[in-house]
């Protein structure tokens, strides 16, 4: 049975590679922000590069924040990647030219600037994966490609969604930060699986199979 994935189209950077990678791992992919298509898809992939507030402005312009909430209310899978992962939190400490825009707020708390001698964190880094991870099955020890200056520091119980106990994977750049979250239907990765070669392909295939 084919798995239909919508990549949310809201003018975010390079989605070309995302679409090709999802096709490579066997998904039927549509790049759109059409409400019916987004809600009907087996999985919704929320990309995001650049400034947090600019991304949120773009997301809101296509009603993306509401579409994510509606899908999650019905237990429908959503995967946020990079800034598409960050916007699942309440906000970001990243400076904004046009004024601060709140995140979608699935998890409380904000993303903060990385504390390291070299920022942005650019390159391939290993991830500490908790037992029971579905996304990282078979690639627990691989490196994934990160490019970011901000991240969630942690995800303590006080910030969880109601009734959920998410699996949190972490990575380190100067200090530990949240690399991925598996929270029922809601998943997010701070790294770019679509740019992480074979390891990224396996992770996305694991996600597709879970849909």
């Amino acid at each position: 049975m084919t798995t239909r994935v919508v990549v949310l189209d809201y003018g975010s950077g390079n989605v070309h590679s995302v679409v090709r990678m999802l096709e490579r791992i066997g998904a039927e992919v549509e790049l759109t922000a059409d409400r019916d298509a987004v809600l009907a898809a087996d999985g919704l992939y929320v990309p995001g590069v650049g400034n947090f507030h600019a991304c949120m402005t773009g997301l809101r312009a296509v009603g993306g924040d509401e579409l994510v909430r509606t899908r999650l209310a019905g237990g429908r899978p959503v995967l946020g990647v990079c800034v598409g992962h960050q916007v699942l939190f309440e906000g970001s400490a990243e400076p904004s030219v046009g004024g601060a825009v709140p995140g979608i707020g699935c998890w409380t708390g904000s993303v903060v600037r990385l504390e390291a001698s070299v920022v942005p964190h650019v390159g391939w880094t290993t991830v500490r994966v908790p037992i029971g991870s579905v996304l990282f099955a078979g690639v627990e020890r691989e490196r994934f490609y990160f490019v970011h200056s901000y991240a969630a520091r942690d995800l303590p119980a006080a910030r969880w969604r109601d009734g959920a106990a998410p699996l949190v994977s972490t990575a380190e750049h100067g200090r530990e930060f949240v690399a991925a979250v598996e929270d029922g239907a809601l998943r997010g990765t701070q790294f770019h699986p679509e740019k992480s070669g074979d390891a990224g392909a396996t992770l996305l295939e694991n996600w597709r199979k879970s849909l």
């Binding site: 950077g13 390079n14 070309h16 590679s17 090709r20 990678m21 490579r24 590069v49 650049g50 400034n51 600019a54 030219v97 001698s117 070299v118 920022v119 942005p120 964190h121 650019v122 390159g123 391939w124 880094t125 290993t126 500490r128 490196r143 490609y145 990160f146 490019v147 970011h148 200056s149 990575a171 380190e172 750049h173 770019h192 679509e194 740019k195 992480s196 070669g197 990224g200 392909a201």
Partner: protein, 253 residues
């Protein structure tokens, strides 16, 4: 430590009118193949990133590069940086839409430094690699050059890198024009001098001839190492560079 970011090993493909070329000191160009084919080969050899440098002289042939980028992004699933002829936010937009993950800017930023901030504000610092072609001036300081190292831009190189980082560049690609093509090693003094002044990733380029040269560049402070002809002509393989880095205690993928 297994948890820290790996040193990136980056093959650079100089592309003219859709073909990969690389000469000694940017002259005597030799054809080293099809860019998409080479990128795919390097992707399979555990390159951590691919850089395309568009050296096409005429703007009429620029469209060829968008096609090369697009075809590469369809089958190589590692980061792709594209530089050459970038002068404006619109140029960056076109390259990102074609499938580039990051964009290199060089002469365009020297001509108008504010374009760095404009690009960073629109797309984020992480898309922007400031590329600096640097040589030693007769009085011993480092200066920025244009036109493939032939002309001085009248700018002190270390200050320029620091200023570019301040304006919003996400990484510095530091190319030594003195070392480029010599295969006698990176300019380690230059790498150390820039490393001291910037807190963004530093990619060292120019002069690689042996696997040990890459280790020396990382010891001097580079976060990533880039080379062209030594990889294209098989004098050193990416695997050999990574083995040398690993043996020296640097994390690699």
């Amino acid at each position: 430590m297994a948890v820290s970011v790996a040193v990136r090993v980056i093959p650079c493909l100089d592309v003219d009118a859709g073909r990969v070329v690389k000469g000694v000191n940017f002259e005597n160009l030799r054809d080293a193949g099809d860019p998409v084919e080479l990128a795919r080969r390097y992707g399979g050899q555990s390159a951590d990133e691919i850089t395309f440098l568009d050296i096409t002289a005429s703007s009429a042939e620029r469209d060829t590069m968008y096609d090369v980028v697009s075809r590469t992004a369809e089958e190589v699933f590692i980061p792709l940086t594209v530089g050459g002829g970038v002068r404006s936010v619109d140029d960056v937009d076109r390259l990102l839409r074609a499938g580039a993950d990051k964009v290199g800017i060089n002469t365009g930023a020297i001509a108008r430094p504010d374009v760095i901030a404009e690009i960073a504000d629109r797309f984020g610092s992480q898309v922007l690699v400031l590329s600096a072609d640097v040589r030693r001036a007769t009085d011993g300081h480092f200066e920025v050059t244009t036109h493939g190292g032939k002309r001085s831009a009248g700018i002190e190189a270390i200050e320029w890198c620091a200023h570019a980082a301040h304006l919003g560049a996400g990484e510095i690609l530091l190319n030594s024009m003195d070392a480029d093509g010599t295969k006698s090693g990176f300019d380690l003094e230059l790498i150390r001098a820039v490393r001291r002044e910037i807190g963004i990733p530093l990619i060292a380029s120019g002069g690689a001839g042996t696997a040990q040269h890459f280790v020396d560049a990382v010891d001097a402070g580079a976060n990533a190492v880039l080379a062209a002809s030594v990889f294209h002509f098989g004098q050193v393989t990416i695997a050999e560079v990574k083995a040398a880095l690993r043996a020296a205690g640097h994390p690699v993928r």
